[in-house]
Symmetry: D2
Subunit: 339 residues, 4 copies
């Protein structure tokens, strides 16, 4: 069977990661990536064997003068593909919808776009089926994906009556030197923050989220309190439940996982398996949980650069109708060394 | 009436602030401060008119060779005072208890010490009376004081059934260059963190706290969820209630208070009134509250360097039996320009 | 004699500081300040007794709906004043030049503007006379002012053959939560950075500067190496020389000044004198200097929020021809508690 | 020929990296690593196939109760090896010298130890021969290694008359959450800082260094000014010269290398080749150099976690007399994918 031809519009933090992830699958391949600037990231794309395209003729010129090989215009790339992964910066993706529509192409958006841009929002293990065969699908953001995975598992096991999540967000991504904060705690003064309603585009549970930005680049951290309909006996049951849930990994403070820095240190020590210090799975502290009455509180850390990568691969299979959810998740996980 | 003679053991972040605050009262005075190192802080103490003592003869030597005036040994200072404010680093205060006892002096500890060091833990507006006439009293820590003030007000108004507080803590104090974290979110993996039980030494309400350290020096921030016995109609009632409560100030995101940095910017703009950019009152966001059923969630910012300063002044009046709680709080607030 | 009427266009980090400094002088007064947003800073301006104006009718509306008193439009304020202090954000000031010209008003710009905006660039102790009676003058930036003060003193004492300055810059100001970097060292890859040529607009000495941004909000730090024509015998002579130079303060590592954080800690402890934790003087480490042959290396810390404040006051006297440089500097220093 | 048996005492930031690097060589192998705590790093060592030893029986107990396999006591490991890589924390290594001596083993120290601990200090391309056959050798620190590589290349090409280096140091390593500074620039107030004299233990050139710590975890950055005996015509010659020098890589700001964060972003994108985001080579900005008269100024970034790794491998070959410098460097570079 011919591999699905994937074009990637935007080769930044997410784009470069999904490009590599797609290449590791046996049923799809990257036919090209779109990059605006002929910088070291573009040069790396070329080194890694990706064909690089630019959005306009101005870009052609800039790549030429920088000596970075460029295959042509993005529109030509899009014409030749089966599905476009839109990894442009937040809100930019929406401006491309007209082009994707005109070309009659399927497109998968990221969580920086509003839900309305797509026919369905997506988290593989939660609602894969709603995206099957659709033209426009949106993989929810890194924070929402994290909440969707753990809350879906909890909801299936114990039933969720209500949820409160405090999201302590990294400020900028590691390669973003322009964005702060440098020395402040920055709450969103709008309650609920957008992640609560965003979660409800994929998982139907009551939730109120509060988001607070802090001066770090590494990971988001969530403190989640869930009121359960049928609470377990104790937290050890919860640990066991999470252990069986897909794309969730338990960690313990007593093993030295004292911070997001330690989790990333572990990731760097395990780069060999994935070719990168990415953490596709949500990290949940197993020895820092609390169950009081029917209220479970747990803490989870989200690798914002990479947790949506396996979801995006699954979304391709959903829109292209390649297989069912279970099969896709298994294929993705195997290809990406997800336990 | 003779003023109460106050000795201050430890002239660091807290010590230097309570020294200045005591000097502003009409019923007490600082007879001396104890400082270990003849650095710029000691020099400033001298400039401000405080008599500086050292713990041992080694200190005498070091002050002499640095050319910083020193009045003698701390034990002599302690002998001549009515009450000692122990502002030594956490856990060090306990080692002084024997000396204070031997000299027959009253001492007021700070929250870095364990509750057991004192006969009573103290927050002026909550439990002043329990410390009246006692020899050893402990003012609870900055975080606990913040919780005590707002939760006491809420408890009085609506009755507290249960509390969950997420404490997002500044890493080091602004003048501490040795302590991190620099780029990590650091949860305490022990739940509950110690602030919950600590609060219960002054206020009898159910609570579970979770503490998380982040890379900032400015303030702590709390996200507090309280289950109320008799909830108000809406959050505007809560705003009104907090407006009347002592040592709590309402702020709004729409006025530009978007972060702890903005609160401190305001404090710096108001240094003239207090001679320092200190914020004795807890800041609560009035336009970022949520009331869902009987669950109230609010956010507060704590100026960890200074919120315990007025409490410490009140504690002096309590142990010295100078007046009742209401009178003391009013005197302190007037002297310290607390609204 | 009537006081000079000063209008302040822009009431941010610099504007609010120069407003307070002008009010402390006996020969000038603030007739109004211009603020775009009715936030806590505008409210503080009103509290402090300043009349607040807005740039346009849209602003009138916003102040009204926020309940913050507003006196009218900035153009009306400008018409009624003798001199405008332009404290708008960098590059914005230039767009006002046409208005200032049309109104026939003198204006003093800050260092965020290009030199070409003004007839002369200004550092009081270096080249006051060049600005006397001029319509448009520019006070050079915080970094350049720092270099101008110490290098002018050195040049007068020993003659400068060449200069190399490494400027380790704070990222954002303390109240700026949007700007990074959070976790990176960011060199300007253009050598020389603009501060070298900028210095030469006020002081004619050879210099090459290199600027590097780091994740801190507090102060800039410079490492300066100067080749001297007539070098002193040893660094103690340099210390003595700096001790006599205006607006420069010597500090020592052995007194606890181990970092920019300690300098600001000292400033906070001395807020009472100035009503604010501002450091108008450049801090030079006296015990961390090196003299090798004719090469002097020293380190200085710059309080970027405030070192240009006294310069701006002096620039008013220069353009208004109120007095000579020496008299102005003495008046300013006395009014602002500069030693 | 039998492989050299290498024991690694200390499996932290450096230890774990040299362990993996040794395994990639064809003439040496790791026979065991010593780890104090049975945390995730110890668990990773086991996963990676290393035999883990502990310093004492207390450690045996702790590993057992944590369920982490442990082979025995470090002394037994040392007895069975040919050479010990001492990667214990700074100053701890010296306390092991007696044991190493008693066992008659060769040991290679890291730069955290004082030069006196060893018979020779080492940088492969500079002074390999001095360590041949020695019992105790010290690989100089990350900063000194960086200086040694570029200054040696410059000295060979143009002759160095004098050097001034400003070292802008990262605060803590990425996995160190306890150390600051969080919001300060921290100069060493001792001039010269220790790196200058340290460099002279491997390379005989005049130098004065100044070290300044800043709040970042990623890399050190140096601004180096060198007075040349026979200066080149222009900086393009310097670029060419560095391009040919071993373990130095040129980068350009125009390619997007605007900060240490971008360099590490590139490293993460190239983890596949080395199994880790390590940068063994010094990064020198090719388009941010200055040549004024005979003074060359350039900027370099140092990956403090890894630049000494290839040096340590070479040091093994030197003390074991396996081959000459050129052969060793070539073997190491090939095995570690160093261009």
């Amino acid at each position: 069977m011919a591999k699905v031809k994937v074009a990637i519009n935007g080769y930044g933090v997410i784009g470069k990661r999904v490009a590599e992830a797609v290449q590791k699958q046996d049923d799809m391949e990257v036919v090209g990536v779109v990059k605006t600037s002929p910088n070291y990231i573009a040069q790396t794309a070329v080194e890694k064997g990706f064909k690089v395209y630019v959005p306009d003729s101005n870009g052609l010129e800039r790549f030429k003068s920088a000596g970075v090989p460029c295959e042509g215009l993005s529109e030509d790339l899009f014409k030749d593909c089966d599905v476009i992964l839109d990894c442009t910066p937040g809100k930019v993706g929406a401006t491309y919808k007209e082009l994707y529509t005109r070309l009659g192409k399927k497109a998968i958006y990221q969580g920086g776009e509003k839900p309305e841009v797509a026919e369905a929002s997506f988290t593989a293990q939660v609602n894969y089926d709603k995206s099957v065969g659709k033209q426009f699908v949106r993989v929810v953001s890194c924070n929402t994906t994290g909440l969707a995975r753990t809350l879906n598992a909890i909801n299936n096991a114990y039933g969720i009556e209500d949820t409160r999540a405090i999201l302590i967000r990294r400020g900028p991504d590691p390669d973003d030197i322009k964005t702060g904060p440098v020395n402040a705690i920055v709450p969103e003064t709008k309650i609920p923050s957008h992640q609560g309603p965003d979660l409800q585009t994929v998982l139907d549970v009551p939730i109120e989220t509060i988001a607070i930005k802090v001066p770090t680049t590494l990971m988001h951290m969530h403190v989640v309190t869930v009121k359960l309909k049928n609470p377990p006996k104790d937290v050890s049951e919860v640990v066991e439940m999470f252990n069986k849930a897909p794309r969730i990994v338990l960690i313990n403070g007593k093993d030295g996982f004292k911070s997001t820095a330690h989790i990333m240190d572990w990731a760097r020590d395990h780069s060999e398996a994935r070719g990168r210090d990415d953490l596709y799975e949500i990290r949940v502290w197993g020895d820092a949980m609390s169950l009081r009455g029917n209220e479970l509180t747990f803490m989870q850390a989200i690798h914002n650069e990479s947790d949506v990568v396996p979801e995006t691969v699954d979304a391709i299979r959903a829109v292209m109708e390649l297989c069912d959810a279970k099969t896709s998740i298994e294929k993705t996980d195997k290809a990406l060394s997800i336990a």
